[in-house]
Subunit: 128 residues, 4 copies
């Protein structure tokens, strides 16, 4: 479950965001589950509570978590919500740049397809 690489250039809170999303896709966290409180998680990951809180708020704004003051933070029940086209477009743009980078590193199309296969396998074919 969620690991933070303190040497990564990626901000801690973003690593936590992606980590929790991964846990959900893998079924480690399920809709309705309560996730560790801000203070608990801070102790577990040896981080400042504010940083954890920031990650939780991002996830809430992305409709992944819900937080109830005084009770805690929970994995949201997935209602089939409309696809966020703006963000999908951004992601595709990011994907294109990744492909450019890959070709410059002499990674072939076949290899990228293989990456995709591996990623899907790791996420167990679950839906968000």
């Amino acid at each position: 479950m969620v690991k933070i690489d303190k040497d990564s250039h990626r901000p801690f809170y973003e690593q936590l965001v992606i980590g929790i999303k991964e846990d959900i896709l893998q079924g480690i966290l399920e809709p309705g589950d309560q996730i560790p409180s801000v203070r608990e998680m801070a102790k577990i990951l040896l981080m400042n509570p504010n940083t954890i809180s920031k990650a939780y708020k991002v996830l809430e704004s992305e409709q992944v978590l819900v937080t109830v003051k005084g009770k805690g933070t929970f994995v949201k029940q997935v209602e089939s919500r409309p696809r966020d086209l703006r963000r999908i477009e951004e992601l595709q743009q990011q994907f294109n740049e990744l492909v450019i980078e890959a070709k410059h590193l002499q990674v072939t199309e076949t290899e990228i397809k293989q990456w995709l296969k591996e990623a899907e396998a790791k996420l167990g074919g679950n839906e968000a």
Copy 2:
């Protein structure tokens, strides 16, 4: 050719780096071509010369450009250099995170394959 999106969160210099790499893959820039000087490019893109300079330095460090003192900056001859496994691994990690994002945005595996096809088409199948 290279376009800078002022509203993007990606640093200008990174946009420039990726833009030049794309131009090379598309054959707009070819090995041996001279590219505009830092000052010229700064005028063209209405950016600070320091920013252009930073981009060029990154591209030199990645063996994409060479600067010849007194002559200018050129697109490097493609030599089959050894694959940089560390950077490829990083890229795959980045790819995995992108897939996690995609699934949370309800983008299917099929759609990602389509993205890949489109990206390859756009880059004309050229090699770096």
Copy 3:
């Protein structure tokens, strides 16, 4: 009757307060009616009695409910009490902010008027 939205950011007790006020405006609750005791209501709504108690206290302070020792809590007789100008002013300020939000969400003046019409219809034109 009163429904609590667990996913709302509004505190439970406030949701209860507004819910009871709505019931009164709709005539579901009438002056003189006894409302469930704190403990009963807590069972009905699956909430902590403290939370119910807090809501009742707010409603008492706002002259909506009265508690008679040993008998229970009742909907108060409508007396034409003086308008609380301070609170009305606050409400108007809140209304202004709501309009600002609305305009940024591209909601037109006409639509807001429609909202008002719908709200009035739902409340059946009864007076508190």
Copy 4:
């Protein structure tokens, strides 16, 4: 221009968010304008830079501002973006509750219509 009421129950950063939105609707701030830097604004309002930053980030997530690292924060060019139905629905719900509150304060439908007229006048009929 933007005033913060330190005695209000509303968080400072939310007051700032609504204040900037109002300035835009009134035409005090126009698309493309640079707004005071986080540090400047902090000095002006006698607040901590982090709090200002939080407000700016909220406004960016709502597509009202764009921030460019190293350059500053700007009022976004309004592209006619799709209406965010989820947020509009939330706002209507909030509106309904406001009407309930109003009726309990003996505010009439006519008065609310008057409030709306005044609000529109104040915002000068500009579009977001």
